[in-house]
């Protein structure tokens, strides 16, 4: 009887601890509440511009060797704690075969003059749909931002199989706290 009580207690404690850890590791909502001591802190980012970075009316059509299209995306810290860029993920719709024929480079731009940009990703758009862990260079404090430079192009070696294809991609940027490497 005594053993049964001990077993039940241990099982309950483990179940509660597991649930706590499970909830703590859930994907974040738009704002993530963090308790540091008695104070509640928020890990929260906004992206600027909120409009799509790439669209044909502005960029024209892609073709083998077409000009590279470069756009900047600002990741703004609107929370209370610093962050670091840690992951990219793209979700594609439409003729997603086109993602195999498009190359993408993502740079984290430096703050000061002469500061070298940090290469975060260089590969096909289709590889980005599998998600990519990256290591941002800057720890971005509260109220500051970091600029990401996205460049997309179709290599000269791309074949006719991509002609006329059209797709959309949502590009997700994930940041982490604590920002320490």
């Amino acid at each position: 009887m005594k053993h049964k009580q001990i077993f039940t207690s241990a099982f309950t404690i483990m179940l509660v601890l597991s649930l706590v850890m499970f909830m703590a590791n859930q994907p974040p909502a738009s704002v993530h509440a963090i308790f540091l001591g008695k104070n509640e802190k928020n890990l929260d980012i906004e992206l600027s511009p909120p409009e799509p970075l790439f669209y044909p009316k502005k960029d024209g059509y892609f073709y083998p060797g077409s000009p590279k299209i470069t756009e900047n995306l600002e990741v703004i810290n609107v929370g209370d704690v610093p962050f670091r860029i840690c992951r990219f993920n793209a979700t594609s719709n439409g003729n997603i075969r086109l993602a195999d024929g498009l190359e993408m480079e993502i740079l984290e731009l430096g703050k000061g003059k002469g500061e070298k940009p940090n290469l975060l990703y260089n590969g096909t758009l289709s590889s980005l749909t599998e998600g990519m862990e990256v290591n941002g260079k800057s720890a971005v404090p509260q109220g500051k931002s970091v600029a990401l430079q996205f460049t997309v192009w179709m290599p000269e070696t791309a074949g006719s199989e991509y002609q006329g294809l059209n797709m959309t991609a949502d590009i997700a940027v994930t940041v982490r706290f604590p920002p320490a490497k």
Partner: protein, 222 residues
């Protein structure tokens, strides 16, 4: 019982530590939505008239029925136009061909297997006139000379591979015309090819009864 409990508790602790090691930070995600990527198209269509109708292929442009050595087609033309979303810059012209042996075999046909080596017959199908033209160019494919600009280019000329002073369809296949200014490079967006073909006077009995099927291939390039 005590051992079982100890084991369960240990497994639980190890699992929690492993979990803590794997997920050691909090995260937040922002998404740039609706990014749209579109690849352009080149869509070459051809016609027997500059007024259309425009299709992906035309047939029977150069025809010689019951031909004999020395026979020549009249001048015939193919017009081409790009209906794609991208502008092209150059055109390439080449050809392919097949030979069909007659059935039953003619006794006088001294090569009953020309269909297995069609190049031999193509060497006797001579191009006697070939002009690629649009509003900006009038290029002689046999000399590479553009009478509008006064320029002569090797790319615009079929090389006389065997040096006999004649140009055959075999030589066009070997040495396509390349870098011709495409239909998109001038105002009316239409180019045309004028050509005449002659069955060589020196063609022998090897080709009696044989049918030569020519496919002209036009390609637009960016």
């Amino acid at each position: 019982m005590k051992r079982t409990l100890t084991a369960i508790v240990l497994i639980g602790i190890v699992a929690m530590l492993a979990g803590a090691g794997t997920y050691s930070y909090f995260s937040d995600t922002g998404t740039s939505t609706g990014n749209t990527f579109t690849a352009g198209t080149l869509d070459l269509k051809v016609s027997h008239s500059s007024l259309g109708p425009w299709t992906d292929g035309v047939t029977g442009t150069w025809t010689l029925s019951n031909m004999k050595p020395g026979d020549e087609t009249p001048t015939a033309s193919v017009f081409f136009k790009n209906f794609g979303s991208l502008a092209s810059s150059t055109t390439e012209i080449t050809c392919s061909y097949t030979v069909t042996e007659e059935t039953p075999q003619t006794e006088a046909d001294t090569d009953p297997n020309t269909d297995e080596h069609p190049d031999e017959m193509a060497k006797h199908m001579m191009i006697t006139m070939m002009f690629y033209k649009n509003d900006h160019v009038n290029i002689n494919g046999l000399t590479g000379y553009d009478s509008y600009s006064g320029l002569t280019k090797d790319d615009w000329k079929i090389n006389d591979a065997n040096g006999d002073g004649k140009i055959s369809l075999y030589e066009l296949k070997l040495d396509p015309l390349i870098n011709l200014p495409s239909p998109d490079t001038q105002p009316n967006k239409i180019s045309q090819l004028d050509m005449r073909i002659k069955f060589d006077e020196n063609a022998g009995n090897d080709f009696q009864g044989d049918a030569f099927d020519l496919t002209m291939i036009f390609t637009l390039k960016q």
